[in-house]
């Protein structure tokens, strides 16, 4: 153990070494354990928790954010980040609101939401892959820009009066207690899993995140892949915008304010390295469930939302700090 840690200190750390690989595998197990504990804790703490319809309601807490988190996971694994996702929701929702005002039907509204998401993603992608801006700064800028445009259009106003058929995407149920949002989240998660872990494209993303120079030399079109990832994140934000707008039935420019941080928290909690190069979709999905359950359970106990955010913040730091502390204690014991 001690020689291994000395070796690790001397060599250039490779994020995909087997020790870390094992650690990541157990990461999902740890998260799952946390999930089960919270589930049992909640069912003991509140008699209203174990009701299928209440649990179904709880899924609305995280499905929209979770869908963005899936795409954000790809981006963070590739070593980039997109802080403008919530602003894209605001802009897409505003565009849909304006279109609904003009009498566009549900299908048209969805198309507009997806299109605005794609356009915003493309704009981010161009700034980062063509102009060469660091993604964190570029997307802080576009975050103000996109939401700023929503404010310019709407001011302190509000768009209401969406067509009745549009409500399905945020309020409809596919079967029994399974909402359209939840079903869409699960399907997209399976799709994301296959794309990331079973395809050449997915391997390319890990390669870029670990060493983009090496990836370039091995023939991966780094810029193009990154551009596609920003498009994907934009599209995911567009999907979330459709669901959220449909669920709320109204649009204000402050819609989804602060969601970017919750989405990043979800991804990091899911075991994706913020430095890029490692992570799994399963982890992100479990993290989405964990965050949703925590918020829902605390809500049943009448804990205010902002206090829940303390738990989320502590969880984010604790979940990253614990393995480091444990490893250090173990190493000290072995030495």
């Amino acid at each position: 153990m001690s020689t291994e840690s000395q070796m690790a200190r001397r060599t250039i750390p490779d994020r995909l070494d087997t020790r870390l690989g094992r650690w990541i595998r157990s990461w999902e197990a740890l998260l799952l354990l946390v999930f089960v504990l919270i589930f049992f804790g909640n069912s003991l703490a509140s008699p209203y928790f174990l009701d299928p319809w209440n649990l179904s309601d709880a899924t609305f807490n995280f499905t929209e954010k979770g869908i963005i988190a899936l795409a954000m996971g790809f981006l963070i694994i590739a070593g980039e980040i997109d802080l403008s996702v919530a602003a894209i929701i605001a802009l897409a929702s505003t565009a849909m609101g304006a279109a609904a005002q003009a009498g566009v039907g549900p299908a048209g509204l969805c198309a507009i939401g997806l299109l605005v998401g794609l356009l915003c993603g493309a704009f981010n992608g161009i700034l980062i892959t063509r102009v060469g801006l660091p993604s964190i700064v570029a997307t802080i800028g576009t975050m103000s820009l996109f939401r700023g445009i929503a404010y310019v259009v709407l001011g302190d106003g509000v768009y209401k009066g969406y067509p009745p058929g549009f409500a399905y995407f945020g309020q409809g149920y596919v079967w029994w207690v399974f909402s359209f949002e939840f079903a869409a989240f699960l399907l997209l998660a399976i799709g994301a899993h296959v794309l990331l872990h079973r395809t050449v494209f997915g391997r390319a993303i890990f390669a870029i995140g670990n060493n983009s120079f090496a990836a370039r030399f091995s023939g991966i079109r780094v810029e193009r892949v990154k551009f596609l990832l920003f498009l994907m994140t934009g599209l995911a934000s567009g999907i979330a915008a459709i669901m959220l707008t449909s669920r709320l039935g109204s649009t204000r420019p402050s819609i989804a304010f602060g969601w970017e941080l919750e989405v990043v928290t979800m991804v990091v909690l899911g075991g994706v390295s913020i430095l890029g190069g490692s992570g799994r979709i399963a982890g992100i999905v479990i993290a989405a469930f964990v965050m949703g359950l925590v918020t829902f359970g605390l809500g049943l106990l009448n804990v205010p939302g902002i206090v829940m955010s303390i738990f989320i913040g502590l969880m984010l730091i604790a979940v990253l700090a614990l393995p480091i502390v444990v490893r250090r204690v173990v190493n000290r014991g072995a030495a």
Partner: protein
């Protein structure tokens, strides 16, 4: 030397941009460029300048502090509640409390980053929600209103001294200190060295983690002082004060030419960046543009500013690889 001339260019560029902006506003509204009004604009930008200088120290070390606004809200709330609960507390003690609390919160960030090696963006993302949440727990969601705070407490930043309010003088003093610390001290040089090349900094005998820790302490300290200044200036304390202000602070730095990749930036740049945002904020209502434009404009300005910065920072050597990638 060449890096220095680029820096000089960038600041000149920013000064020219600010002058053009002022000229454009003055055409629409001649009173804007009057010295008294400009002093007002400076005073309005004072807190942004103070926070941008703290953020700059952090960004120089290749880190980022997203928790400054939450730190400001928590320290502001704490100091307002102390003043409300025991008005007889000396003002100096209250200010010391806000500075100390801010420093402690910054040190927590710094320790997590230094001792546990967690990336700064994640740590401060976490403490951002924790600190603001604590402001809620502390206050129970209640507001501290103007009539609950003592006049002395509220009036200090407004007190005019030699033609400028004390708030402006505090900003001037902190700018002066920042120039000295960054340019003349070992700590200042270490900040640049750590961000410029962390590996080389280690070989030069600089403790990278410790230097980052100091940067976060500095940022926290300034956020704490700003907490008191904000609450006193706006005469109210509630959980959501300065919500999202951390992005304005980072924007000021970015506009001022402080490289997010670390190691590049100057006090003058940070101050000018903050002033640029401050002027836009002040000018919009004056020239009859809806304040709702402000967010979109500052977003566009950030994107434009980073684009200009990146163009001038680009390392020529890397271009060798470009054609291979660009080929279809």
């Amino acid at each position: 030397m060449s890096a220095k001339s680029i820096l000089a260019q960038r600041e000149t560029l920013l000064v020219v941009a600010i002058l053009l902006l002022l000229a454009a506003i003055t055409i629409r509204f001649p009173g804007f460029a009057a010295p008294a009004n400009l002093a007002n604009v400076f005073n309005d930008a004072a807190i942004l300048i103070i926070l941008a200088l703290g953020q700059m120290a952090v960004i120089l070390t290749r880190s980022i502090d997203l928790s400054v606004a939450a730190n400001l809200a928590l320290t502001g709330m704490a100091v307002a509640m102390v003043n409300d609960a025991s008005p007889e507390t000396p003002l100096a003690l209250a200010i010391l409390l806000s500075a100390g609390l801010g420093l402690a919160l910054g040190a927590i960030n710094g320790l997590l980053i230094w001792k546990l090696d967690i990336p700064p963006i994640v740590v401060t993302l976490g403490t951002l929600t924790i600190y603001r949440g604590l402001a809620f727990v502390l206050s129970g969601g209640q507001w501290v209103n103007a009539h609950e705070m003592t006049p002395d407490f509220l009036n200090l930043p407004r007190h005019v001294l030699l033609g400028l309010p004390i708030l402006s003088w505090i900003a001037v003093a902190i700018i002066g200190l920042a120039v000295v610390i960054l340019g003349q001290t070992k700590l200042g040089r270490s900040l640049y060295a750590v961000g410029g090349n962390p590996v080389a900094a280690v070989y030069a005998g600089i403790d990278v983690g410790r230097t980052r820790f100091y940067a976060f302490c500095l940022s926290g300290l300034l956020a704490g002082i700003s907490g008191y200044l904000w609450v006193a200036r706006y005469a109210v304390a509630y959980v959501d004060i300065a919500g999202g202000f951390e992005l304005d602070v980072i924007a000021a730095c970015v506009i001022g030419g402080i490289s997010i990749a670390g190691g590049i930036g100057s006090v003058g740049g940070a101050v000018l960046g903050a002033l640029f945002l401050g002027i836009i904020k002040n000018a919009l209502p004056v020239v009859n543009v809806s304040p709702f434009w402000q967010m979109a404009i500052s977003g566009a300005v950030i994107v434009a500013a980073v684009t200009i910065n990146v163009r001038s920072e680009r390392v020529k050597g890397r271009l060798i690889l470009r054609p291979a990638v660009a080929a279809p």
